[in-house]
């Protein structure tokens, strides 16, 4: 298959960066869910999901974003999305996710946005 799925979590200061690569569908979404779950359980609620290398997303992948955003915001954090390719962006737009999620062009922008809303204790 053209591009399987890969996921990598790193940190930038108090931010967690989850980088997605390849396709995020019903087969690979559980890995993404685990990755976000791990951050949330570790009390890391300021999360950037970098989609620069994400070539495909289906509702199973979008469902992961959807199911965590409330909890993370309740804890004073956020899930910011960056690097959407036009193909993936189209799906966010169709579902109205652009109104719910903070979507930035590049990772820099997402980091910047978090710095404008400093961490408040949960």
């Amino acid at each position: 298959m053209p591009n399987p799925f890969a996921i990598e979590t790193s940190s930038e200061g108090d931010l967690s960066v989850i980088q997605l690569e390849g396709y995020l569908d019903a087969h690979t979404a559980p890995q993404f869910e685990q990755a976000i779950q791990a951050e949330v359980e570790a009390g890391r609620h300021r999360i950037i999901v970098d989609c620069e290398k994400l070539t495909y997303i289906s509702s199973a992948g979008l469902g992961v974003f959807m199911s965590f955003i409330e909890e993370v915001r309740e804890q004073g954090g956020d899930i910011k999305v960056c690097g959407l390719t036009p193909k993936v962006r189209q799906v966010f737009d169709i579902l109205g996710f652009a109104e719910i999620f903070d979507i930035c062009d590049a990772r820099r922008g997402a980091v910047q946005r978090f710095s404008e809303s400093p961490l408040r204790e949960g």
Binding site: M1, A26, E33, Y56, M66, S67, V91, I94, L95
Partner: protein
């Protein structure tokens, strides 16, 4: 080419592992039908959603079952039929929740059928539980600008 109809069929075991192959299948067909890239992307996603639903809901992840995708196209449209012999359901009884509501309820699902209806020009189900459930979808071919 002209109005000659082209037919393609794919049978795969009911496993999410095979969604990537199903997408390749549909993408190839979309290209041959002359759809542009955004339209191919929509077709690909709609069929992925349809098959993911069969794998998850109709067969409950029983990988000994089979998902069948039939595709035909002519000069006017691409028709996709997704067939299963699983549980079946009543599509009219599926509530169509707003995304805001799903977010508030921390749901991870409930987006698939909405996507399919948005992405395709026609979507309808023919359900005969225990016998055969078929989902028919149509994407019309808008002639490319070039």
């Amino acid at each position: 080419m002209g109005t000659l109809e082209r037919k393609f069929t794919l049978h795969v075991p009911s496993s999410t592992e095979n969604l990537a192959l199903i997408r390749e299948f549909v993408t190839t067909i979309g290209k041959q039908a002359g759809l542009d890239d955004p339209e191919i992307g929509k077709l690909e996603l709609a069929v992925d959603e349809a098959c993911a639903n069969v794998i998850e809901h109709a067969y409950g992840h029983d990988t000994s079952q089979e998902v069948i995708v039939r595709a035909t196209f002519d000069a006017d449209e691409v028709r996709i039929d997704v067939e299963d012999t699983g549980r079946g359901f009543d599509p009219k009884k599926v509530p169509s929740s707003e995304v805001e509501k799903l977010v508030a309820e921390r749901k991870s699902g409930g987006l698939g059928m909405r996507l399919m209806r948005t992405l395709m020009d026609e979507v309808h189900y023919e359900i005969e539980p225990g016998k055969k459930n078929e989902l028919h979808m149509v994407k019309r071919i808008r002639k490319k600008a070039d």
